[in-house]
Symmetry: C2
Subunit: 372 residues, 2 copies
Amino acid sequence: MSIFKLVGKKNKARLGKLKTLHGEIETPFFMSIATSGFIKGLTTDEMREIKAPVILSNTYHLMLRPGEKLIKKAGGLHKFMNWRGPILTDSGGYQVFSLAKFRKISDSGVKFKSGIDGKEYFLTPKKAIEVQQDLGSDIMMVLDECVENPASYSVAVEAVERTTRWAKVCKEVKSQKEKVKSDKLKVKKQLLFGIVQGSLYKDLRKKSAEDLIKIDFDGYAIGGLAVGEGKSEMYKMVEYAAQLLPENKPRYLMGVGYPEDIVKAVSLGVDMFDCVIPTRNARHGMLFTDLKNINLKKGIVKYKALHIANEKYKEDFKPIDKNCDCELCRNYSRSYLRHLFMSKSFLGQRLATLHNLRFYIKLMNEIRALLK
Amino acid sequence: MSIFKLVGKKNKARLGKLKTLHGEIETPFFMSIATSGFIKGLTTDEMREIKAPVILSNTYHLMLRPGEKLIKKAGGLHKFMNWRGPILTDSGGYQVFSLAKFRKISDSGVKFKSGIDGKEYFLTPKKAIEVQQDLGSDIMMVLDECVENPASYSVAVEAVERTTRWAKVCKEVKSQKEKVKSDKLKVKKQLLFGIVQGSLYKDLRKKSAEDLIKIDFDGYAIGGLAVGEGKSEMYKMVEYAAQLLPENKPRYLMGVGYPEDIVKAVSLGVDMFDCVIPTRNARHGMLFTDLKNINLKKGIVKYKALHIANEKYKEDFKPIDKNCDCELCRNYSRSYLRHLFMSKSFLGQRLATLHNLRFYIKLMNEIRALLK
């Protein structure tokens, strides 16, 4: 029984269905970021209200605080955070490389110190899977090595080779676990995705994709993009990498992006997205509004960015977006939201976050509607 | 037609009904604090969900930001903040004395500088009423002079005399306004309360109450308590001041307090309360739980204070309060709330605030039930 079903296709853009332990999700979809087991400022009731289909949590953050063993005791991440829908967890690799205070990489894994209490950790491919099994996420990611762009060819080669070696270990650890009878049922249903690296080098992307496909994962991510390169370079590499991947498996572009990036990537054949932009920008008073003209053939979309601190909204008693059905737009004016931000109230950040996530969910709804 | 109706009485404790422009409220009641036109972290939808009957906003804060003229343009404070229930606004007096950067008091009013932008303001009794009329609150308070305890007799005398003079002006300004035909309907329905001062001097409390009763207000507040004196002194003065006030008018003890203070004051004949304790303590991770044994005869109550940062809650997967119906207690564990606080997430503060306000609302429900 296939976990991913391609339902429709227009040019390269794909409409599909992905089965997980916590329900089926229509692709393309966007995952809201619940880094440490919570969406900053929002409750899971609210996430259900805005019809968020799936969320993403960060293994690195949860491993450091409150710890995967505590979450396992709580009955898993879903129960701990009261989220009944699917959860994807990253492997912690990206955060170790970008956030950890001190790190030492070797072929067996990455040694690093916690930014919270200085405690030393050793993240190996095996450990990354074990932690994600403790969390009980629906979609696990392999431990990869992500390099910033621009990267020299030799650095990129090394990262690709290590990523492949680690991916093999991750798959083996999962397979071993599946043989343990008591864990069988649950472990089998957790999906595992490989991550294609290779920086901006086509031959390395090709090699990475081919190696991972041989190992055989439930889905494939395109990693190492939106990490320093320009947009046109990113789009070119997404286009190239997407066509390397099997038609019958979901494709996930990690950490991307603005609505135009998502529409573009969908038009290039990508199915899954996550990004901090809607939530982080909301906390800075930037709201997405007036979504229109999604064109999947050209890979473009129109919308407006409303900066609520702007003086011109001081006496603007209209809603943020008259076509939005979120709590902010239903109940409060631009003038009031501006007052909340000027007062440095976290209620303002909360309402803006809710609105932006609802915007992204509607964006994905409309993208899928165009593919039906 | 009387705006306040005494429905029942047990010893000194009173059950009543207060009519306002935005509906009738059963007394005794507690007003949640929406200082600058918002409850810190909560939406008005949530305030309705937890069945908050009435809120309090601060004239001083709203006058400085966003300004009463903006709120008037928005259609009044109710519309601006999307709150359909009653609102009481204080006069700004207390804040001018406790918060303003620079202040110069004279018989005509108080000159002070805004802590936000240094702008100079002149708050007079007339201005205090005009601002509250612009805000459109249901219950307005007179401008008073509140002194900290302990206060010398001469300082207390001066404050009482000035409070009476200013109270007269406030009443006159309101009466004048009521004669202006276009404003007639709305202005008439706004209630105006006098504020009894007199520090801890019985003779001054008596004089203050008698002077204010002569002016004739819709209700009477007991001010100048919980400002430095001990609890037993406060209770003594509440007991003394309450019996000075007319039976047929609501009595409001300003800025008090913990559940035990409220139960005590109800037992002494007080009908209305407001305090920052449930919201401020929530933001510091202190949660009220296990409400029981309200005794209005003795003026006592039992409950527990749960400090969520405590290590013992780390792996405590029980709800904060198993008898509570708030979103926090329905959906999340102590362990999870602790994780939110350890992560310095404002979601933790938000959920704790919701819980504590729900606790206070239930406290008042149970108090009223005992009076029925």
